[in-house]
């Protein structure tokens, strides 16, 4: 049996009176590519934000390789407001900041690209390697870490080469065309040496050709780097071609789960996407 890399357990995220994610359960296994799909506003990015520590969930827990990394239960004002399920099941509050989660080996990209805009392509990657440093403030300032510094630079160049960004190495990150910026975000996430990669709409705004390249690319990095990939995506061609399994979210609730063929023929999914047109 394959090991669970990521397990999202009964996660509910409620903002005020609005439930954005409702009792979500997701399991991602080693070296799988799992997609999370659903109409706009279904709570997909919110789910990512819970996993990566940007938001503490209102209730529920997240496990990474069997270890509980996030847990929360309704507190304070939420005690009265909470409308979700499993109230009382969780009693602890574990809410690490995003950087702690990244250090464990979970890296992400953003839906609305967030590159460091005054930095070059190369520097964007170099900075992302900062978290694996062994030098401290003193050794780094007085250049007693030359060996490490050199390794960081070589590693960054290697990643650029693999992601075919070497030709734009010294250009400002934000001067790149859209597709390359997305690719740079993936490269940057990989520079943190993750074992689980979360991609938030990696193909958004790409043309069909770029999307095809990306599809091939995602498959390749999974194989070459032994990564597990969990992604949000709207391009159904990409999702259906590449995913091992798919979760479908609608109004914060998971409504279906399965291999691509199952999802394609699932009436509830079709209804969620086409808005009740399934009867016609």
């Amino acid at each position: 049996m394959k090991e669970n890399v990521l397990k999202v357990e009964n996660v509910t995220m409620q903002f005020g009176g609005v439930i954005a994610v409702d009792n979500m359960n997701i399991v991602v296994n080693e070296k799988e590519i799992v997609s999370l799909i659903g109409p706009n506003g279904a709570g997909k990015t919110t789910a990512f934000n819970v996993i990566t520590g940007v938001y503490a969930p209102t209730n529920g827990a997240v496990y990474f390789r069997g270890e509980k990394i996030v847990e929360n239960y309704p507190q304070g004002k939420m005690k009265k407001l909470y409308k979700g399920e499993n109230n009382g099941k969780y009693t602890h509050s574990i809410a690490p900041t995003p950087d702690k989660i990244t250090k464990l080996g979970i890296a992400r990209t953003f839906q609305n690209i967030r590159l460091w805009k005054s930095q070059t392509v190369f520097e964007n990657i170099l900075i992302a390697e900062h978290l694996r440093r062994t030098s401290n403030l003193f050794t780094a300032t007085f250049r007693l870490n030359m060996e490490e510094e050199r390794n960081m630079r070589e590693e960054a160049d290697r990643l650029l080469e693999i992601l075919e960004l070497s030709d734009v190495r010294d250009e400002l990150a934000t001067s790149l065309p859209y597709g390359k910026q997305r690719r740079l975000e993936i490269a940057r996430a990989m520079a943190t040496k993750p074992s689980l990669l979360l991609l938030d709409e990696p193909a958004a705004g790409m043309n069909p050709q770029e999307t095809d390249e990306l599809t091939a690319f995602i498959g390749r990095i999974r194989d070459d780097f032994g990564l597990t990939i969990f992604m949000i995506e709207h391009h159904m061609d990409l999702v259906m071609e590449i995913s091992d399994r798919i979760y479908v979210l609608d109004f914060g609730k998971p409504i279906a789960e399965g291999i691509p063929e199952e999802i394609q023929n699932n009436p509830r999914v079709i209804e969620a996407y086409l808005g009740g047109a399934v009867d016609e």
Partner: protein, 362 residues
């Protein structure tokens, strides 16, 4: 242009600069009208350090802090209090029975202690306030500086701080080379930090905090480092300022002083170390010296030039600053740096083949 050659040229230029400064100092008589030049150079070098330290925070880490004058004050007092010769303490602390400290430390120890004390305060203040964002952080740090100022003038702490009286009779510098060397070394350390992996992390926080955190950069930790290091050097520059002024009083380290330092940083270019240095000298020179003529009456024939009288210089100066803030928002340097290598290439007409990323590693 190779690295070695660039370093060599830099060393020669620095030595030449120090040599020229020494020659100027030896040849300008205190009574000559050029004596002002020495004052400007001394004070400019001190302000350069505090401006660069503020730039480390505001320009490179994106933390808008307005506590710089407060940390300078802590440095100035720490230095003064620790270095007054025991024999003079009875006189300085005449209202407090000679104060509670009965020893004196050497100047270098005093300078380091000044930085360390400012850093310690910054560390403690940073624990709560660095969680705040942009303008809230600005106003909180400004508030802390004001609280510190009240604390240092508090009568009950008089045996330590001499209350609202001056601290004086501590050692001062004998030569202009002293503030230049101390500031120079400190600025060099800041530049090394900025170009290290930590400095890169600071810039990432400045550009996009959320992305920085998602890439594993611990925001609280790195902001605290930037804040503490910046305050350390503000403390050292405070000590230098104390030496320059020959006496210190807490009430002069007010918010207006922080604003001046901020304006220096803005004029030089937020995010440029060399910009801050150049602008410090320009700022001090124009406010203390070059615009002095505006404060005096001038007559052309029988015609008295209107408006010119005491204080006009500062008005003109403030207008110039507003023009820069409004129309030249990049300041003198923007985020670029002045570099000898590039300058030589410009004149040598050679094409640059090194790369930005590689070139920045020193």
């Amino acid at each position: 242009m190779n690295k070695k050659k660039e370093v060599l040229i830099s060393v020669i230029l620095i030595a030449a600069l120090l040599g020229i400064l020494r020659i100027l100092e030896l040849n300008i008589k205190p009574t000559s009208q050029w004596a002002m030049l020495l004052t400007v150079l001394k004070k400019g070098s001190i302000y350069a350090l505090v401006a660069v330290s503020m730039n480390l925070l505001n320009g490179f880490t994106g933390l808008f802090s307005l506590g710089q004058a407060g940390f300078m004050m802590i440095g100035a007092y720490t230095f003064g209090v620790l270095t007054i010769p025991p024999a003079d303490r009875e006189m300085v602390y005449m209202y407090y029975d000679g104060g509670i400290i009965k020893f004196a430390v050497p100047v270098v120890v005093g300078l380091l202690a000044a930085g360390a004390m400012a850093a310690l305060f910054a560390f403690l203040i940073g624990l709560p306030v660095l969680r705040l964002k942009s303008d809230y952080l600005a106003i909180a740090t400004l508030g802390f500086a004001e609280i510190m100022r009240a604390l240092f003038q508090w009568d009950t702490l008089g045996p330590l701080t001499n209350g609202s009286n001056m601290i004086r009779n501590y050692p001062t510098f004998k030569t202009i080379l002293f503030p230049f060397i101390v500031s120079g070394v400190c600025i060099a350390v800041i530049v090394l930090l900025i170009n290290s992996t930590y400095g890169r992390a600071f810039k990432a926080i400045r550009d996009d905090e959320i992305a920085a955190e998602a890439m594993g950069i611990n925001l609280a930790h790195h902001k605290r480092i930037a804040f503490t290091v910046s305050s350390f050097f503000a403390g050292v520059s405070g000590a230098l300022l104390a030496m320059f002024q020959t006496n210190v009083q807490a009430k002069s380290f007010n918010s207006a002083m922080t604003y001046e330092i901020l304006l220096i940083v803005v004029i030089g270019g937020i995010g440029s170390v060399t910009g801050s240095v150049i602008s410090s000298f320009l700022f001090i020179a124009s406010s203390e010296w070059l615009l002095r003529f505006l404060d005096e009456q001038h007559k052309i024939g029988d015609f008295t030039v209107p408006l010119l009288r005491s204080g006009f210089r500062k008005v003109v100066f403030a207008v110039i600053i507003m023009v820069i803030v409004l129309f030249f928002r990049q300041g003198i340097m923007g985020t670029r740096e002045f570099s000898i290598g590039r300058l030589l290439e410009r004149f040598g007409g050679k094409k640059k083949n090194g790369t930005e990323g590689g070139g920045k590693l020193q």
